[in-house]
């Protein structure tokens, strides 16, 4: 009995927070747009029964997505931004995690605190403050001009560069924490052994440390990649009119076109794109758990 309850908890969680919202969105994606409140005609009602629903079933909103190059271009562009910013986050996050894991034992709680501390401020405000840093008259340009590195201000705000900065900044802790966890558990004697056996410090890192932190790297990368793909807030605050991301397209379908069915179809396709990395992530986690046993 107790076992059943224990199993039921995660499934209930999944049901309430994933499956139910997904079914609602999927249902809207099959309906037709209408001037009503809410603005669509449901394709399915319990009164008509399931057969009436199946008879009427069409995927016209999904077919519509294939008729306009905007959608796949936006998916591709989001994918590109997500992959690239995940890589950048790894590049920045790994040395930080490494430094934390190598720091003296008594410093570590403080360093950990410093990584988590930004979460105490609203995400929105933190992204906002980047506007003040990156704008034409912003702090970054002021410092660069003052030191004489540049003579005319750089245009960073409202470009894709600013979007990368925003994503890397925002998701950095999600990269650092799993890598730190992996490095922290690392048995120091392995590195000593590698060095005793003739490895240079870099070789020891590349042949021993990095492979052993692989699971942390993979976990961190997924934790950054998945939310970055559907990101809307960062590109709309820091990006320019030219930044094309699927989150923005979704917004326009929803707000400008008032076309909830097509907006839902865009969201369902986005989810399908995400299912692949999510499944890979799950498998990685599982394998890691098994390896530890």
């Amino acid at each position: 009995m107790r076992r059943w309850v224990l199993i039921a908890v995660p499934y209930l969680w999944l049901l309430a927070l994933f499956l139910v919202p997904f079914v609602i969105v999927f249902k809207i994606s099959l309906s037709d747009v209408a001037l009503a409140r809410p603005p669509y005609i449901p394709q399915f009602s319990w009164d008509d029964g399931i057969w009436a629903f199946l008879r009427e079933l069409d995927f016209e909103n999904y077919i519509f997505l294939t008729t306009d190059s905007l959608y796949w271009k936006a998916y591709l562009s989001s994918l590109k931004i997500a992959v690239f910013s995940t890589f950048l986050t790894l590049l920045v996050g790994y040395p930080i995690a490494y430094g934390m894991a190598r720091a003296p034992e008594e410093w570590r709680p403080t360093l950990m605190m410093l990584v988590i501390l930004p979460f105490w401020t609203s995400f929105l405000i933190r992204v906002y403050s980047w506007m003040g840093i990156l704008s034409q008259e912003g702090y970054l340009n002021q410092i660069l001009m003052w030191t004489g590195i540049i003579s005319t201000p750089l245009t960073i705000l409202n470009t894709n560069t600013a979007v990368y900065v925003g994503i890397v900044y925002t998701y950095l802790p999600f990269m650092i924490l799993p890598i730190y966890a992996a490095l922290d558990r690392l048995d120091g004697s392995l590195i000593e052994a590698a060095e005793d056996l003739g490895c240079s410090r870099f070789q020891a890192f590349w042949l021993v440390t990095f492979p052993l932190s692989r699971n942390g790297v993979i976990a961190g990368s997924f934790l950054v990649f998945i939310p970055a793909l559907g990101e809307f807030v960062i590109p709309s605050i820091l990006g320019g009119s030219k930044t094309l991301m699927i989150g923005k397209v979704l917004w326009e379908e929803f707000f400008s076109n008032r076309d909830w069915p097509v907006a839902s179809a865009v969201a369902v396709v986005l989810l399908l794109i995400l299912v692949v990395p999510i499944v890979l992530f799950q498998r990685n986690q599982q394998r890691q758990a098994e390896a530890e046993q």
Binding site: V33, P39, G240, L244, E252, S256
Partner: protein
């Protein structure tokens, strides 16, 4: 956009905690009221007023169509109001609770009846035109002393806009206003719903696109006031607020607003009560408070928009009632056009065109 996000977040938070009786929740455009009026309302009625702002009709409309926004008073513009009435988003006003309705101006009511027949669902808050805001000094420096400042050429003629580009050109991020403007420029019917006619605006916008710094519906106020930008397509009162802020800052920037010589869009922002407003009684009190001649005059004196309240005109300051940019003379009024809502298919054509113009895709 930043405002949209802020208000969206605020709105979501609000919806969760709404339905407390003695609060009135008002959702109005940003920079659109004398804030001392809000306090005055609370003192006079004893109600707690919660005042949130937005800067795009689209955001408001999605809230209205989704339902359960938690707001008691909202302020959509004419065409959006009309569509939302058809979707059943608003409740009819209870005229018995609005003794100040007699102050309204029949001239404006006759025009708003186009969107809200019989003015059963809404009262006019402000109205104005969509025209051009300029940094007069800079524009004259670039284009010469005798440039015609009220011409659409400054926004739509590539050779001219190119010269202004470095100085900063802003457009409203409002396709339902930009497309009619371009059609008017081309000599087409600005209210055309024919996709082929609407498509004619695309090459015009594409030609000036490289010279447009940003599409945004509220940043240009500060941009003009600080002298950061030179030309903005903007709403009358917003540009005039920029003019005022520049004058106060004494930064040497002279901002001016003009309705287009080619003809400008005339719009009406209407106050209405959502069908599921938690406190419709308080909402009526707020509308009645706004329709008071003194209060409405205070609002107009502060935001530099014309209102639909005849009785308030005696309390308006001379630089408001006497300014043809705010209260246009007969000839200018004749030159203003109005638009009607697009149906979903045409709306999709317009949005798609807009995305293409903005992102190049």
């Amino acid at each position: 956009m930043k405002k949209i996000l802020f208000t969206t977040v605020a709105g979501v938070a609000l919806a969760a905690t709404s339905a407390m009786a003695e609060e009135v929740r008002v959702y109005n455009w940003s920079d659109y009221i004398d804030e001392s009026l809000l306090e005055k309302f609370e003192q006079e009625t004893g109600l707690e007023l919660i005042y949130d702002v937005f800067d795009s009709n689209e955001v408001l409309e999605t809230k209205m169509l989704a339902g359960g926004s938690g707001y008691d008073v909202v302020v959509p513009s004419g065409t959006f109001l009309q569509r939302q009435i058809m979707a059943g988003a608003f409740q009819k006003l209870d005229q018995s609770k609005l003794p100040n309705a007699g102050n309204l101006w029949d001239v404006i009511e006759a025009r708003t009846a186009q969107y809200d027949p019989g003015n059963e669902y809404s009262i006019n808050y402000m109205w104005g035109s969509t025209g051009i805001g300029l940094n007069v000094g800079k524009v004259k420096e670039i284009l010469g002393e005798d440039v015609q400042l009220n011409s659409m050429d400054l926004l739509l003629k590539p050779e001219v806009v190119e010269k202004l580009a470095d100085c900063g050109v802003y457009f409203l991020d409002a396709p339902t206003e930009v497309v009619p403007m371009v059609l008017q420029y081309l000599g087409e019917d600005p209210d055309s719903h024919d996709p082929d006619v609407i498509a004619k605006s695309e090459p015009v916008l594409a030609a000036v696109r490289p010279h447009i710094q940003k599409f945004h519906s509220s940043e240009y106020i500060n941009g003009l006031a600080n002298g950061d930008i030179c030309v903005a397509m903007g709403w009358s009162g917003d540009v005039l607020q920029a003019r005022d802020r520049a004058a106060e800052a004494e930064n040497g920037v002279e901002v001016a607003y003009y309705a287009f010589a080619e003809g400008s869009l005339m719009w009406f922002d209407q106050m209405a009560i959502p069908v599921d407003a938690p406190n419709p009684d308080g909402a009526h009190k707020f509308l009645n408070f706004i329709m008071d001649a003194n209060n409405m005059a205070a609002a107009s004196n502060y935001v530099y928009f014309a209102n639909g309240n005849l009785a308030s005109q005696q309390h308006l300051e001379e630089d408001v009632i006497g300014d043809p940019a705010i209260y246009p003379d007969e000839a200018t009024l004749e030159n203003l056009y109005t638009t009607t809502p697009y149906d979903p298919k045409v709306q999709r054509v317009v949005t798609r065109l807009w995305t293409k113009i903005k992102s190049g895709t």
